[in-house]
């Protein structure tokens, strides 16, 4: 997993990306159904399936339901997903029959920008859509995953560029403008319940829907998290500390990453 910021202390024995991925994997429980985006979410979901959640049902937007890849897929349509799936369905079917009715428990998403109401931007950086500073890939399956999965977990590295007061473009709705927005827009799922970063975990306040810091990794200070948040971040009264990755978790994760083509490329 090259290319990400590495902020761990040398004595920790694991990188910030590794504890993020392990923490995300732990959020998935055995037997859950999980709609998986590629990259960090897929890494975490596959780690969970290889450790504490062997019966986790992985669903990719390519139409592969119950995929059991022996190695990390590079794309959502790798052959290994189809060959190991319980069922392979068409793309219209995966969205219409499986995602839209709320059959899938967890949507596991990444983000280029996320704001305090957990709205996600993967479309453009810059205020003017027509003349973007950076053109990002766009929506993919994310808007409907964010709308219709029963819950959403976001996995994203935390920087001032990603954690912004207001996203430049709402690709996928978290809590919109705050309380009541999801209901107003007719979004049937509960929305983002956890945002897992390379510094810790944020969760929406049940009253205000604003993301609140609820846990940090060992050695990460609240001040460090605030410094990488583009709004006045609130801190939970009972701020927790995440247990460091266990050797078994790290070993499985490192095996998975090492087997990627070209050592994981620019993920």
């Amino acid at each position: 997993m090259t290319g990400g910021p590495v902020t761990e202390s040398p004595q920790a024995g694991y990188s910030s990306d590794e504890i993020m991925t392990v923490t995300a994997a732990r959020a998935l429980h055995d037997g859950m159904t999980c709609f998986v985006g590629i990259g960090l979410p897929s890494d975490a979901a596959n780690l969970a399936r290889r450790t504490h959640a062997p019966n986790l049902v992985l669903i990719y937007e390519s139409g592969t339901i119950g995929a059991k890849p022996g190695s990390l897929p590079l794309s959502i349509g790798d052959g290994i997903l189809a060959e190991t799936a319980d069922a392979v369905v068409s793309v219209p079917e995966i969205f219409n029959y499986w995602l839209q009715p709320g059959r899938i428990g967890i949507g596991f998403l990444g983000a280029a920008q996320i704001d305090k109401f957990a709205n996600i931007n993967t479309t453009v950086i810059g205020a003017d859509y027509a003349e973007p500073k950076v053109r990002l890939p766009g929506a993919g399956g994310a808007p409907e995953i964010a709308a219709s999965c029963r819950e959403v977990i976001v996995v994203v590295r935390q920087t001032l560029r990603t954690f912004v007061h207001r996203v430049d473009f709402v690709t996928s709705v978290g809590f919109g403008d705050g309380p009541g927005s999801r209901k107003y827009f007719g979004l049937t799922g509960a929305g983002p319940q956890k945002v897992i970063t390379d510094l810790g975990v944020l969760e929406p306040d049940p009253q205000t829907c604003e993301l609140v810091l609820t846990a940090v990794y060992p050695g990460v200070s609240v001040a460090a998290v605030r410094e990488r948040t583009g709004w006045d971040l609130r801190i939970s009264a009972d701020l927790g500390e995440i247990a460091p990755p266990r050797p078994a978790e790290l070993a499985v994760l490192r095996d998975l990453i090492a087997a990627l083509p070209s050592e994981g490329a620019a993920r």
Binding site: I38, F95, T123, K133, A139
Partner: protein
């Protein structure tokens, strides 16, 4: 009945300047050989439709074939950006590229409507997203609609009716019946939604044997079939070829620089010189 012809003939017969062309294949079975043939034939002013533009449309856009792109996710899967796409959007090179941007669910349903002969499809989607805004250029293809039975607020998306669909399949028989399996994406819908179609295949066989989960397009629903073994590369054809993940990684460097990209096109599309 489908005509079995060469790839060059199939493209020449179906893809014309200014056409709306849907080359589909969801990560799997991407019709790359056909895409390169469109570049070789010098088509211009195309409206390219595809859920995931991927490396195939990065090549067509960089080669100057496209005027407009209708899409839902434009990245190099698992690697990062499509640099030719970004160069066109951010810096208008080799020319401006008009965008019409949707979500996957929206695009998939637009193909379903086209294949069904209906003017639109209905889904729960888009509400609250910027995709409804003027920027995303979807105003002509998305509308709010009330359910006539319950009054629920839903979203209508306009049918896609491309001039031509281009897809890749594992095999066809000598009558032109087409069979593909594995991740089947939206190719069936794209072919049925389009006025004309080209299906390239790994091989043409005497008889199609049943495969679990396979889609069969009867010959009378297909325009042209052309043999193009390995024609999905760097994507793959399940049970025939493997996805060339290293190529997707290498494409990042090839496509990042205009000159490097143009040299790649000269060598690998037009077969000029070698490195």
């Amino acid at each position: 009945m489908a005509e079995i012809v060469s790839l060059a003939e199939a493209i020449a017969e179906t893809v014309h300047d200014g056409d709306t062309v849907a080359m589909e294949g969801f990560t799997h079975l991407i019709p790359h050989a056909a895409g390169r043939e469109v570049i070789r034939q010098g088509r211009r002013g195309l409206t390219l439709v595809r859920m995931t533009p991927d490396v195939i449309y990065d090549q067509l856009i960089g080669a100057g074939c496209a005027r407009k792109l209708v899409f839902s996710w434009a990245g190099n899967p698992g690697v990062g950006s499509l640099h030719r796409f970004r160069d066109a959007v951010e810096r208008c090179w080799p020319g401006p590229l008009e965008l019409e941007e949707h979500s996957h669910a929206g695009m998939a349903n637009r193909y379903v409507a086209g294949a069904s002969g209906l003017p639109f499809a209905v889904l729960r989607g888009y509400n609250g997203t910027g995709l409804l805004g003027p920027g995303a250029n979807t105003h002509a293809s998305i509308a709010e609609i009330a359910c006539p039975f319950t009054g629920e607020r839903l979203t209508a998306v306009a049918a896609l009716r491309p001039d031509v669909a281009v897809t890749h399949a594992q095999r066809a028989d000598r009558a032109g019946n087409v069979q593909f399996w594995g991740i089947t994406g939206v190719q069936k819908e794209a072919v049925l939604a389009s006025a004309r179609s080209v299906v390239t295949v790994e091989e043409i066989v005497d008889e199609l044997h049943p495969k679990p989960g396979a889609v069969v397009l009867p010959t009378w629903a297909v325009g042209y079939v052309a043999a193009a073994p390995g024609g999905a590369h760097p994507s793959y054809a399940l049970d025939y070829t493997a996805r060339d993940n290293d190529f997707y990684v290498a494409w990042d460097a090839i496509s990042r620089d205009r000159e490097t990209f143009l040299r790649w096109v000269d060598e690998h599309v037009f077969g000029k010189g070698s490195s």
